[in-house]
């Protein structure tokens, strides 16, 4: 290829990169600075409501991984089965959220927490005592808009003032 004037294009490109030197970085220093995740975060745990669950097992059927194990007793109390075992192996779970959508009694939620590194595999197995909603273990608004409204606003990169220079 032949060019009449060498270097014009490169100089133009370098002007862009030089301008970037003077801009503020958009990255955050993660463990110290934290951004708010989405209100619908499909966090790394499942949260189960003991009172609302009737033990119908729809969630276990909707789970295509087979991560939910539920066993109930045969006697009914208040039109509900007594749930004897409710276990989720979060090591198998892919957090697709189909079980939350399938639950007809609003008894199953995903958590808002996104950090779930564990030292032991046994810790990934969550049973019904572990799956309770607590102030530390917040419920995400996935599929429940009312719960989503209570959560803090998601921090967005488009709200960052660095983009304003380009607005038209």
């Amino acid at each position: 290829m032949k060019f009449e004037r060498y270097g014009i294009g490169i100089a133009k490109g370098l002007s862009v990169t030089i301008r970037h030197l003077l801009r503020r970085p958009i990255t955050t220093q993660y463990p110290e600075q934290r951004l708010n995740p989405s209100r619908r975060t499909r966090g790394n745990e499942l949260i189960w409501d003991k009172d609302k669950c009737t033990g119908c097992g729809t969630c276990a059927k909707a789970c295509h991984i087979g991560a939910i194990h539920i066993s109930t007793s045969t006697n009914q109390v208040d039109n509900k089965y007594e749930v004897q075992k409710y276990e989720v192996d979060t090591g198998y779970c892919i957090f697709c959220g189909l079980c939350v959508e399938a639950c007809p009694f609003e008894a199953l939620f995903l958590s808002y927490d996104y950090e779930c590194a564990r030292y032991r595999r046994n810790d990934l197995l969550h049973d019904k005592e572990k799956m309770v909603e607590t102030p530390e273990r917040k419920v995400s608004g996935y599929f429940y808009p009312k719960r989503a409204a209570k959560l803090p606003k998601q921090s967005l990169l488009v709200d960052n003032d660095r983009g304003k220079r380009h607005e038209r």
């Binding site: 133009k12 990169t17 209100r39 499909r42 995400s140 488009v158 709200d159 983009g163 607005e167």
Partner: protein, 375 residues
């Protein structure tokens, strides 16, 4: 073999075979090219796929129609929303399910955002392969981040979205989505202009990419190439126009085409497509109606016995799902027409005669995603 005679020295050269990949940073995944080289010149190239084969098509045959959607996320992991949509279109065609108006608009908005996100990655990594090492790709990933934020807002994940459902979308977009999208639409053309200033006239890029890896128009059609690879060769073919699915017949947009069919044209076509996607997005949010986002669909869908092929214009080309139903809750056959798999068959023809340094460039210009090629 070939004998070169220079004065008294006689050099005997013979072609040798080099395995390029599977674990090579430039192959965008686990892809192997078995190249026959004559010195530095590529005489022949044989692509070897299958290192990422997970048997997704077979896995899908024992799942219900709804639970196949998370599987489609894992096909083309740079454009999962398009995969979701293509699969849902196929099931809707198979079972005859109507989609509410608002859901159609949301689908178009999400699919076009996905196209921009995917093209940003494609263009960035193509420039990375050219030797514009890391600077453009990091700029473009930064803009992709803005789109991922929006996706995170609607579906709660950044990579495996699982958002589209048969008969609509899983949930309505939140209130803060449209203002954020408007902000994004305002600033995105500025960012695109900045990329143009950065690289459009760059002499090194022009010298490396112009005229390299030409895919002639006839060959592109014969091979069945689609997407930007086909359009760069000068064929005005876009499924959004040729066979409008969803509500694409309501929007005004142009189909950018290239002339030469070289690597530079493929890069230009992708950049222009991003601008067209922004145009569609502006029209879509203007007449976004209110209402339901999901039609009444049973939990276990049992489509009538038959077959259906749903396809759309994905970021990489024609993405199609072929489903055969035997009347049960799971598909009898689940086949994916992966665009990059078919575009890759043109690779040997594009590479023949070029130097080994151009091989990376030509390969990068196709924009493949190995998750989709191997399935």
């Amino acid at each position: 073999m070939e004998t070169t005679k220079t004065k008294e020295i006689v050099i005997n050269t013979e072609p040798f075979v080099v395995n390029f990949g599977p674990a090579h940073p430039s192959t965008h995944g686990v892809f192997r090219m078995r190249m026959t080289l004559d010195g530095e010149v590529i005489m022949d190239m044989e692509p070897v796929f299958g290192y990422l084969h997970r048997g997704l098509e077979k896995l899908a045959e024992e799942r219900t129609y709804t639970s196949c959607i998370p599987l489609t996320d894992r096909l083309d992991y740079l454009a999962p929303m398009s995969n979701n949509l293509a699969y849902c279109l196929a099931v809707e065609k198979l079972a005859g399910i109507a989609v509410p108006e608002r859901a159609e608009y949301i689908r178009v908005i999400i699919a076009e955002l996905q196209r921009i996100a995917s093209h940003l990655c494609a263009v960035g990594f193509f420039l990375n392969d050219c030797g514009a090492f890391m600077t453009p790709v990091l700029y473009m990933l930064r803009e992709r981040e803005r789109i991922l934020d929006l996706f995170d807002m609607v579906c709660g994940q950044r990579l495996t979205y699982n958002y589209m459902r048969v008969g609509g979308v899983s949930q309505d977009i939140p209130e803060e989505f449209i203002p954020a999208l408007k902000k994004f639409l305002k600033e995105m053309p500025g960012w695109l202009d900045e990329y143009e200033r950065l690289l459009k006239d760059n002499e090194i890029l022009l010298a490396r990419a112009k005229g390299v890896g030409i895919l002639p128009r006839d060959l592109a059609i014969n091979i069945g190439a689609s997407g930007p690879v086909l359009r760069a060769s000068g064929v005005r073919w876009d499924i959004r126009r040729a066979d409008p699915y969803s509500i694409y017949d309501r929007f005004e947009f142009d189909i950018p085409v290239g002339t030469a069919g070289d690597c530079y044209d493929r890069y230009r076509v992708r950049v222009e497509e991003m601008r067209q996607s922004l145009r569609i997005l502006r029209q879509a949010i203007k007449d976004l109606p209110r209402g339901e986002v999901r039609s009444e669909v049973p939990h276990l869908i049992r489509p009538p016995i038959g077959e259906a092929y749903g396809h759309l214009e994905g970021p990489r080309g024609e993405l199609g799902f072929y489903l055969v139903s035997d009347g049960s809750i799971a598909p009898y056959r689940f086949h994916v027409r992966a665009p990059t798999f078919i575009n890759l068959t043109a690779l040997a023809d594009m590479m023949r005669g070029w130097k080994i340094a151009d091989a990376i460039l030509i390969f990068g210009s196709i924009d493949i995603c190995m998750g989709e090629v191997d399935r």
